[in-house]
Symmetry: D2
Subunit: 303 residues, 4 copies
């Protein structure tokens, strides 16, 4: 198990079958510094146009189509004293006629106090003078190359992951992506210091991060959608529009998971999900929305 | 402040402008026993066809159009040893082609242990032999008469509330409904012993309950959608299809609430919501879906 | 077969189980003058607040739940020299961020030339100086009382019809509504001198009309959604949001119709619909959207 | 103006920035034989796996990002005696619970009579014995390489075109695509002998065709979505899910088109669209649905 310090020198605005930037073994750990959503690094230098320039791809030896790439988010350390957001709710998250009254969507700077682990608006805003947010770092965009030579903008997401902007992709979480190409070709970037559900202003607090992930190949998992777990829950991720369809994808995936891995019948899986399932909204801003279907581990039968 | 024991003798399958079953003063408490979604009472007698027969309407003196009816859910006590669910996920919550593989939607009985405060499947189901769920009672359907002589089936919901099937409508929660007619005309019923997010099998554990609510008129609140609070959060409720539109309604309502009651500008409200908002899925089964937009009270500026 | 001249003296903003304004026999013809969407009559007098005040209900003797009410739209004669529209696309029919650039939604007057059968903007608008539209009259809102004591605003539509705002509801068309209450209780109003697909400015050219309809009870038809025909086509109507669901309702209804009335198997109905079906958008403005699924009669097997 | 006979020897399942198969000048005509959706050629030989293998890309000299590629569909000649469809409505076009009753989705063969210009089911189906459909050829999938190194499956569509499955892409129609890469990189394939609106069985009659198109670069058109015209209409194409969003894209594009090219104000464009616009459903089967917003040329002001 090697730990790699991966210093990116080029970045990508798509997740696709691109030449590997680094090759690692299954089980290795990678530490890398990511740009923010606009391509700005820890030194405030713009290294690449947006949206969401990705570090990678990381080729994980042994990964083949049909496998899963297990990504453990070990650590996220902020490495800049500022982040930015947008000053208005996005048009698509409010009633259509209410869009006429929204403020303009200007970039706004937040001060990040890495000692205290907090963020504050740099310019005071009336009513929010005392708003001090705890850092709750998360990866906005990560995933693997999609199948069939497709390449997807880092503005959106699909079965292969991508720009899901889900708060639950935070240190301590493990995520599995369906591998579609040899080496999996893992990409990551677009980290947020904190974000509300839905990313409804179109951003979290966008900043640069040092990220540590462990990458492991699990053979022949035959996943369709990304899956994950944290200390207390397992979860399935659906990416699509409308939100109804994202929810259908995530729900169907959890249903299949309970049947294939936990031995439940369709009826038993229905009973369990019906009374204990939880949903979380990832993003409702990007071209594909993200809905997460969760079950607490305490309800799961032994595997 | 009087406490009324309201024994319903007829029930309604719509929320509309119907003759009051009881008249109370603002601030009064009402204790009443509700039927389950099929109209079955605590003695297992079917008293009224479904869907979701309502106790009421309760006329609250002084309530006029433009006011809010504040409903404090004081207590919910189960009064029957059984409840029922459906044996399959609903067709609309899975991928369309996956519907072909769903089991049939049969009613299934759960045993409710009122001493222990738990529920269990009455007939054992493989893999769920040890599933013992805590009772987490909630009101599935409640609300006030809609405006303009409209009357809505208790299968669905709208601005006036109705069949929202949201887990958060539980003891300890307070809900405000927009009053559209004199006396508000409050209805309630369809209580669940527990339910997962989304009511994705089309039911929670449906049973009869004794419910205690306190009803208070707040003058001239000019609400559009139901709002609520619990010990730690405030929340806005949007009811519509698709889920995207329910989310737009709830988000717009929270945005307006922060501006009107907490003095935030549109920009400040956007900043706050963008980074701290939480969503919860009420139901994704009924004709109108329910999405809840929440903010923790600790983030709110002083009113 | 009697012809009734029905002079409305009160109007309704809901379709519901209300006292009949007139009783007719099955097969009778009714001639009546309708108000426009704001409640303004042929003499420019506002007789009732909007939305869409309805003439009716008309009790059709012999109609019982499970029957169909056949409505033949015999004639629509404009009886006013003006109509009105809105000056902007509705917010919900454009991309959300494009709403910021829309003009305001002001009422605009059109001159109706009943001799020529045309309509023109009364105040010239640059680029449209020569725009002379032919009158293509249609009924915006009509239908029967819904089931179970429900009452729906004339702003929206459902299984019982209502504010469908579909161009195809024009003279020469026949429409069947599912009867849910004794006497059917037929309502009509909200006629348009012309309208584009979707009613995307929120109006057609709204004006008053003299309408002649023939009302006939067809026993035990067991309809779910409105159906219709014109000289060359049969069609099923779905009313819901999103448009996808309206399309599902209309498509399912046509599928069932081909099976029950034309003797096709599910496979044969699929073959036929797959290659010859046509869709038309009724409205994409009202709370429920309207999608119409059509098949040309020349493709139908003999009944 | 040269006419090229382009004999494809490899095919692609994505629209992306791939090495050109042929280079042509602006204004040239290309004649090429396409495979069907499964990759089967005119001799019934499977040349490439599906979905929808594309001929191309065709590099059109002079095309640069910001330009439009004008594609005139000159001629489509069927070159095989068979085509195929699916035997059931797709799950997503009917009500979710109705999916349980759908037949299985088997491939079905149609006999194509090129002399008569008709198609018939090869095996008789009860009730459809006399069904003889006229050939109404159309291109199911065509478009140009998307921006930013993206590559999209030929199962779906986006701003760059792709698998739109719209009946209106037939001989006599002209289509403009927004050019995103040098040479435009035009792809085409997946022709249908006939198809109903929506492609609701998931196919038209899928077969191989000889297609003749004329490709012309129009400089600096700054299109966002595909646009088209035929003898009597202009039209804008929106590709997205849900259908509501596809409609928003198409409507916004037509609105912008009327303003930029026909000199209308926002208000004038609203007036015109509100009363004369027509919608057509392309597909409601693929990952992105297609909605077309049309205006008859007779209503357009002089450019």
């Amino acid at each position: 198990m090697t730990t790699h310090r991966f210093v990116a020198t080029e970045w990508h605005n798509v997740l696709g079958t691109l030449p590997p930037a680094i090759r690692v073994a299954s089980g290795d750990t990678v530490i890398t510094e990511t740009l923010d959503a606009w391509g700005i690094d820890k030194d405030d230098i713009k290294r690449r146009p947006g949206p969401n320039p990705m570090n990678g791809p990381i080729f994980v030896a042994g990964a083949e189509p049909g496998d899963a790439l297990k990504v453990e988010i070990v650590r996220m350390t902020p490495n800049r004293a500022t982040g930015w957001t947008r000053s208005s709710l996005a048009g698509n998250v409010v009633d259509p006629e209410a869009v006429r009254e929204l403020p303009s969507r200007e970039p706004v700077t937040w001060a990040i106090d890495r000692q205290a682990g907090t963020a504050q608006l740099r310019e005071p805003v009336a009513g929010l003078e005392h708003l001090v947010l705890p850092l709750e770092p998360m990866i906005g965009c990560f995933g693997v190359a999609p199948a069939m030579g497709q390449a997807f903008s880092t503005a959106t997401s699909a079965e292969n992951g991508g720009n899901m902007d889900y708060r639950g992709f935070r240190p301590g979480a493990t995520v599995w992506f369906p591998v579609a190409v040899e080496g999996a070709l893992f990409f990551l970037g677009d980290c947020h210091a904190i974000q509300g559900d839905g990313e409804i202003v179109g951003t979290g607090i966008e900043t640069s991060y040092e990220v540590e992930v462990r990458l492991t190949v699990e053979k022949d998992r035959r996943l369709v959608w990304p899956r994950g777990e944290n200390a207390t829950e397992i979860f399935s991720v659906g990416n699509a529009r409308p939100l109804d369809q994202a929810l259908q994808h995530a729900t169907t995936d959890m249903f299949n998971w309970l049947k294939s891995d936990y031995g439940l019948s369709s009826t038993a899986a229905s009973h369990l999900m019906g009374q204990v399932v939880r949903y979380e909204v990832g993003n409702v801003y990007d071209p594909a929305y993200t809905m997460v279907c969760k079950i607490e581990k305490k309800w799961l039968p032994a595997r």
